[in-house]
């Protein structure tokens, strides 16, 4: 795993140690060592089925890991499930709301019983901002409306940790922007830690400060966003025939495309060091192209087979 940036174990809101989980023969999580700093907005990236939702369920103690441990604010999620959940605002991946016969208002009232810190005024503000209709029956809500309700349920008691699994999935662009605005507002007010999985990294670009990449259940990279963007770059090279990346760069070589003699590689590492190694291998670096946050993160995922 490419691990960057931080040291020591203190100051983390969420940590996992060697967390593994299998469904039958299929590994969902494979020795995941997650480190989410306290107060960070940690964006978890990964293809469908990479294990993001399973990781969230383990943190909520909805799933038992096969091995390894998970801690939230220093509490073991297995042994302190209720205490851990009391401090988490959770938006699940699925968009099916509970208590379908209830109205939205009744469901919010129901949820407020379980969270002594529930802020009714703030909940009303969220309801208005996300255009949740209190008198609508939960069972009659569309996917997007259900997602909005789930966001209200997750934010209204100002939890110190938010676990948001594809939180903007199903939202139209206007509501999506509004939801992200509310999230930013929430972070400014509460200093909460956010662990969010998304397929739309760009929309979280202004909030994200840490990024982790899950690939086939393995956490292949996690680092602060600045470090990610500083260390993952695209290099355009003139390379002689039969050129191969130097062995010391191959473990960090993420993507490669060749057009004639021009080779474009996405590589991880200190720019100067990478360039020296490339020069030593006979390649001439024509251009170093910085990548967007999304491209930097996506570089760790398998390329589109098409």
């Amino acid at each position: 795993m490419i691990n960057g940036g931080d040291s020591g174990r203190s100051g983390y809101a969420v940590t996992t140690h060697g967390l593994s989980k299998r469904y039958g023969r299929q590994p969902a999580l494979d020795r995941v060592d997650l480190r989410v700093p306290d107060g960070a907005v940690y964006v978890l990236v990964g293809a469908n089925g990479a294990g993001k939702s399973t990781l969230f369920k383990v943190l909520m103690n909805l799933e038992r890991p096969d091995s390894g441990t998970a801690e939230v604010f220093g509490l073991d999620t297995g042994w302190s499930g209720p205490e851990v959940r009391a401090g988490i605002g959770y938006v699940p991946e699925r968009q099916d709301a509970p208590h379908r016969a209830m109205t939205c208002a009744r469901l919010l009232q129901h949820a407020s019983t379980f969270y002594p810190e529930w802020d009714h005024a703030y909940a009303d503000h969220l309801v208005r901002s996300l255009a949740v209709q209190p008198q609508r029956r939960v069972g009659g809500l569309s996917k997007g409306e259900t997602r909005r309700l789930q966001l209200v349920l997750a934010l209204a008691y100002r939890p110190p940790l938010l676990l948001l699994d594809e939180p903007t999935d199903g939202l139209d662009p206007v509501v999506r922007r509004r939801a992200l605005g509310l999230l930013a507002e929430h972070l400014a007010d509460t200093q909460a830690t956010v662990l969010v999985s998304t397929h739309h990294i760009t929309e979280l670009e202004s909030l994200a400060d840490h990024v982790g990449v899950l690939r086939d259940g393995k956490l292949v990279a996690q680092m602060p966003r600045d470090e990610l963007q500083r260390s993952v770059k695209s290099y355009q090279l003139d390379a002689p025939d039969g050129w191969a990346a130097p062995p010391e760069l191959q473990p960090s070589g993420l993507r490669r495309a060749t057009v004639g003699r021009v080779v474009q590689c996405t590589l991880v590492g200190d720019e100067r060091g990478v360039m020296q190694q490339l020069a030593a291998s006979g390649a001439v670096v024509r251009q170093v192209i910085p990548l967007s946050l999304e491209d930097s993160a996506l570089a760790f995922l398998p390329e589109d087979p098409s």
């Binding site: 306290d38 799933e63 604010f73 297995g78 959940r85 016969a101 019983t113 379980f114 969270y115």
Partner: protein, 300 residues
């Protein structure tokens, strides 16, 4: 920010579960009230004529059936297995499940109380009693076969006493515990019920031919004996549901052609008490095991 978030008080959780459970029970309750209304309308002509209301056939097992079915209504909408909303809440999962079970039980007791009150009012209007004050006891003490000679039956005064009113509540409670255990312990409780029913029917069908084929006489009577043990024995299900008022009596035809409810034993409240302890204990153990499937996901 690492401040420890507070958890809800158990009392608040219970009160909320009582309120929410009522929402799940509104429709079944309306159906029940409708049926009771219909029964009242049917009985009204008899009541207004001042004639005795025939309460011999009143469904003594009904509170038990209510108890057995109620868990379906209480848990039907919850995702019991999997990451359901209920389990995402900050309450110990096992404790939360028991809280919801208690909430359902409170409504069950209220339902049984309303049902019994309705029944007592209906019967009291006609000047009768729900349970007879004199029972026609078969002198031999064994169930009659064929036509009954009135000379073999004698009237015995019987005072059921106030404890007899608890039978409906205890029976409903035992069935509710067993029903809750099934609903919480299995992913597909209805399939289990249907499967067990089919298995019983098939066993009854094949036991006779198999016992003949393999010369095992006991096999022919085993299913009946088992059913008798579970339902009709001294501490069987009928003891807890009706204090054996069903399995100790039947409507027999006299040689004079009349029909008469005859008894071959007097319901014994001591037997009911022991049966209640046994079945409620069994239900509680089964429920504990079932709820444990939903406990916090701790690794040992």
């Amino acid at each position: 920010m690492t401040g420890k978030a507070r958890q809800p008080r158990l009392r608040d959780v219970l009160l909320e579960q009582v309120r929410v459970t009522w929402l799940s029970l509104r429709i079944p309750s309306l159906v029940g009230a409708g049926l009771a209304g219909l029964a009242t309308i049917v009985a009204l002509p008899t009541m207004t004529r001042g004639g005795p209301l025939n309460i011999n056939g009143w469904p003594t097992w009904l509170p038990g059936i209510m108890g057995a079915l109620l868990p379906i209504a209480v848990w039907g909408k919850d995702e019991r297995f999997g990451p359901g909303f209920l389990w995402t809440l900050p309450v110990d999962r096992r404790r939360h499940a028991f809280t919801k079970i208690v909430a359902g039980w409170i409504w069950l007791m209220a339902g049984v109380a309303v049902f019994l009150s309705w029944l007592f009012i209906m019967v009291a209007v006609t000047g009768e009693h729900v349970l007879p004050r004199t029972i026609n006891l078969v002198v031999s003490g064994v169930p009659p076969v064929g036509l009954v000679d009135p000379a073999t039956v004698r009237g015995v005064p019987w005072d059921p006493g106030p404890l007899m009113r608890l039978v409906a509540f205890s029976g409903a409670t035992a069935c509710y515990l067993l029903g809750s255990a099934l609903v919480l312990g299995t992913r597909h409780p209805l399939r289990w019920v249907v499967g067990l029913g089919l298995l019983s029917a098939m066993t009854a069908m094949v036991s006779q031919p198999l016992s003949t084929e393999f010369g095992m006489g006991w096999l022919a009577v085993a299913p009946g004996r088992l059913m008798e043990l579970v339902v009709g024995s001294r501490y069987g299900l009928d003891a807890v549901l009706t204090a054996r008022s069903e399995t100790l009596s039947t409507t027999a035809k006299l040689i004079s052609g009349e029909s008469l409810r005859v008894w071959w034993g007097v319901p014994d409240l001591a037997d009911w008490g022991i049966a209640t302890v046994l079945w409620t204990g069994f239900g509680a153990i089964a429920l504990w095991a079932a709820v444990s499937r939903h406990g916090e996901r701790r690794r040992v």
